[in-house]
């Protein structure tokens, strides 16, 4: 994708190409900047450096192998890719998922959201050059990865969900450990706030920087925390509940502009911090309501063939709306798996709001968008 802002190019501007690999970029992408002094006058974004042909690869393998591929849609938060595919396939096959499996899915999804937001904070801290908090954040994310390893056997590529449930039941004491981790992170968040969030240096670096207008959010189709930080209240968990999110009481935080103005980089940071708190609140509620029963629909065995049909499933991943259009023609392999990933819209918006900021703020702005180039390029 090459995105060029519509303004004409002035000849007296410095040309600076960044990327595909650069310390200020969160992932492989290429920026072509026209600089007026140190102010960005124009920006072009080119992505595609992480294209792996994921959609084609899914078509060449059996349905069950497609789940393993969806792990790698966004390697940081593997569970969301699996979940959206499973939801779509369950809609095609009209598979009923047992309530226990639904709860396990919610627990894993919210844990992934917390871990993704912790990684977001790591990126933000690296962009402003704060080294110590990075290690604290990664240490606490390790607790969540330990939970994944306990339940699924892997830390990142879980390959845990199946059509009609999950591949294995949660072990004894897992829910208690989830609650322990939540308590730990709740204590740690106070520490993060003291060290980082309310640090004057960080406030000066991130507030009033990279404000995204609600109009731009609408025109570029941004979703997720970035859109909510600008005041657009849209969350799939609330608007189109799936896997039983409607049975729980949680709030969708919106940007309040506490550090500077609504929709700036600091607002996006604070919003994700609040989403971590909300996710832990949700986990606490879910952990009380894990029913005893089967974890996998018994009709769905290893020889299950997805019937012909199509479906479109949406979930709220840590970065925004993740959609999956699945078409099956009754053969052992998927006919088409098309993915709508949230980071594409974020990338589309970059050239339209970075003009006017200083290049020193560019790493902060890019980090605050939480770009997932892996899922944007697929």
């Amino acid at each position: 994708m090459t995105i060029i802002s519509s303004e004409p190019v002035r000849a007296d501007l410095t040309l600076w190409e960044i990327g595909p690999y650069h310390s200020s970029l969160p992932a492989p992408m290429r920026l072509k900047l026209r600089l007026d002094g140190e102010i960005i006058a124009q920006c072009e974004v080119e992505t595609g450096y992480l294209h792996r042909g994921l959609e084609k690869a899914c078509e060449l393998h059996p349905w069950r192998a497609a789940i393993a591929y969806m792990d790698h849609l966004d390697p940081e938060v593997a569970i969301f890719g699996e979940l959206v595919l499973c939801l779509a396939v369950e809609e095609i096959g009209e598979i009923i998922v047992p309530p226990r499996a639904q709860r396990i899915r919610i627990i894993l999804a919210e844990l992934s959201r917390i871990s993704a937001h912790l990684v977001f904070m790591v990126r933000m801290a690296k962009a402003v050059g704060s080294e110590t908090i990075v290690h604290y954040l990664l240490r606490d994310r390790e607790r969540i990865l330990d939970l994944f390893e306990l339940v699924a056997g892997a830390r990142f590529s879980l390959n845990f969900l199946r059509f009609g449930g999950v591949s294995a039941d949660i072990t004894d004491g897992f829910i208690e450990r989830v609650l322990d981790v939540c308590d730990l992170i709740r204590i740690r968040i106070k520490e993060y706030n003291d060290i980082f969030t309310f640090n004057y240096g960080f406030l000066k670096r991130s507030s009033f920087v990279g404000k995204i207008d609600p109009i731009l959010v609408k025109s570029s189709g941004m979703t997720g925390p970035n859109a909510r930080a600008s005041g657009i209240s849209f969350d799939v968990r609330k608007d189109m509940p799936y896997i039983g999110y409607d049975q729980f009481d949680f709030e969708i935080p919106l940007g309040r502009g506490e550090g500077g103005i609504v929709g700036d980089a600091h607002d996006r940071f604070l919003l994700r911090l609040r989403e971590i708190t909300q996710s832990m609140e949700l986990l606490k509620q879910v952990s009380d309501h894990v029913p005893i029963g089967e974890f996998q629909n018994e009709k769905i065995d290893k020889e299950y063939i997805v019937p012909p049909g199509e479906a479109y499933a949406r979930i709220e991943s840590s970065r925004g709306l993740l959609g999956c259009h699945v078409v099956s023609d009754g053969s052992p392999c998927p006919s088409r798996i098309q993915l709508r990933t949230p980071s594409v819209a974020n990338l589309l918006a970059i050239p339209q709001f970075v003009s006017g900021i200083r290049i020193e703020d560019l790493p902060v702005v890019l980090a605050s968008l939480d770009l997932g180039i892996a899922e944007a390029d697929r």
Binding site: M1, I3, E46, I232, H325, D329, L348
Partner: protein
């Protein structure tokens, strides 16, 4: 939300644009099949529709099904929270060749990256003014990649030695400016 009323409204604005109304898969959603040449007009009508206000193209999906390319638009309104699926189909003139399809990037700007991806992967050239210009922009694939990988009749190259792995920014930019 009355889909039949919407269809009749659309029929009034663009006669013959709407082909049929169907359930989308097994879901509650309605999908409206439309004529491929009327996509732009219907898209504009849907965006301007006072009742629906479909201002958000959530997803654009291209599916090849029995050598017919089905373009599906998943629409949604942030104001009225309505959603709609419209679909149109097209057939290439000869197998393996690119073909034109009306673009909606001026109506829903968020459709640009999705259209560009479909262009590269399926060889469907989304054009605004129906001009014959078979120039597919290359962003994801290497520059001298042959064929369109997501088509069903695509054959993987037997050897990858001649395929370059580097792309120059300026080159892709020139292609862009020619469009």
């Amino acid at each position: 939300m009355d889909k039949n009323a919407l269809v009749s409204r659309l029929n009034k604005i663009i006669p013959g644009g709407v082909l049929e109304t169907r359930r989308f898969g097994r879901s509650e959603n309605t999908s409206i099949w439309i004529e491929a040449q009327a996509v732009q007009k219907i898209a504009m009508a849907l965006k301007m529709d006072t009742e629906m206000k479909l201002d958000w193209l959530e997803n654009l999906s291209v599916v090849e099904f029995e050598k017919v390319f089905i373009v599906t638009y998943f629409l949604r309104s942030l104001i009225t929270r309505h959603s709609l699926v419209i679909r149109a189909s097209a057939v290439p003139v000869s197998p393996g060749s690119e073909f034109l399809f009306p673009s909606v990037r001026n109506i829903w700007p968020m459709g640009l990256p999705m259209e560009e991806e479909a262009e590269e992967m399926f060889g469907i050239v989304f054009s605004l003014n129906n001009e014959t210009q078979f120039q597919v922009k290359v962003n994801r694939l290497p520059e001298n990649w042959k064929g369109f990988p997501l088509r069903k009749d695509y054959v993987f190259p037997s050897q990858f030695e001649d395929i370059t792995h580097s792309r120059s920014f300026n080159k892709s930019n020139q292609k862009k400016s020619s469009l």
